[in-house]
């Protein structure tokens, strides 16, 4: 079964995937290791763009658009604004004393997660369909859902997750009021 066109694993798709993955990871490393905060913010944009590309490879077009609009359009502009506002203390972005122990701990955690990812027996949609574990009707419904994800996301948001949806709007309202109260001129 193909979950919509373009998700089959061809050589070209693999090359695109690894190109996006490597550039995104390198940009993320640049965010951490660059001395200049402004350049780090620009590399954060590159990394977020790579993540948007990976969303498209995973048939999550709606999330890719949301990623570009909110992360790249709003959050990164906010971060760059904050960098420019606080620029006159130009001490760059040094590490604290915990650098080497944290590097060891994070490396161990990453190794553990990698081991878990590769040793888990994932119950994949594609294998379930090809071995006939799910019915053909269910497989066709899933294809329909993946071909147009927006109605599916909207349906879930307004049925199963409607409480979380309302709470999220209250959180946004509270954060707007909080940010205004923090930065009000006294």
């Amino acid at each position: 079964m193909q979950l919509g066109a373009g998700t089959e694993s061809t050589v070209i798709v693999d090359i695109v995937f690894w190109a996006i993955a490597v550039s995104s990871i390198i940009a993320a490393l640049a965010v951490v290791f660059l001395k200049d905060v402004f350049r780090a913010a620009l590399f954060l944009v590159v990394s977020l763009m790579g993540v948007a590309g990976m969303f498209i490879l995973m048939r999550a077009e709606f999330l890719a658009v949301v990623q570009v609009l909110i992360y790249i359009g709003a959050i990164s502009v906010l971060i760059i604004f904050a960098v420019v506002t606080t620029r006159d203390m130009d001490d760059g972005s040094p590490f604290n004393a915990l650098r080497s122990p944290v590097l060891v701990i994070v490396g161990l955690l990453l190794a553990g997660v990698t081991f878990v990812v590769y040793s888990t027996d994932w119950n994949l949609i594609d294998t379930a369909v090809s071995t006939g574990t799910v019915t053909t009707a269910a497989a066709e419904e899933m294809v329909v859902v993946f071909e147009n994800t927006v109605p599916g996301i909207a349906g879930l948001l307004l049925t199963n997750y409607v409480l979380a949806f309302e709470v999220a709007s209250i959180v946004l309202l509270a954060s707007v009021i909080g940010a205004l109260a923090l930065l009000r001129k006294r």
């Binding site: 969303f55 972005s93 990812v117 994949l124 594609d126 899933m142 997750y161 954060s175």
Partner: protein, 117 residues
Amino acid sequence: MDIESFLLVGAIIFFIGLFGALTKRNAIVVLMCIELMFNGVNITAVAISRFVLPAAIADGTGGALTDAAQLVLTGQVFSVFIITIAAAEVALGLAIVISLFRNRDTIFVSDANELKH
């Protein structure tokens, strides 16, 4: 391009962000690293929703077929919420950083230690 590659990339981005968030002294860079961690989690959530069969469909307990099929998008709905909360978090975080800068003339988290004395 299989689920393991996506999960691995998500984990690498998450742990780069974790490393930066724990070791950087500049509060804005710490916030940027937290955004990286959110993105690693988002990749993982979307990858699992794209590749893993929901238990409700496998058991046939997901109700009507159209409703059950929607459950493959649960990870994407989680990502929508994560992005929402990230936007709220970064707005508040930067407000705190700027008010720290106004009051103490520093943006280093190690200098914000008034509660220590």
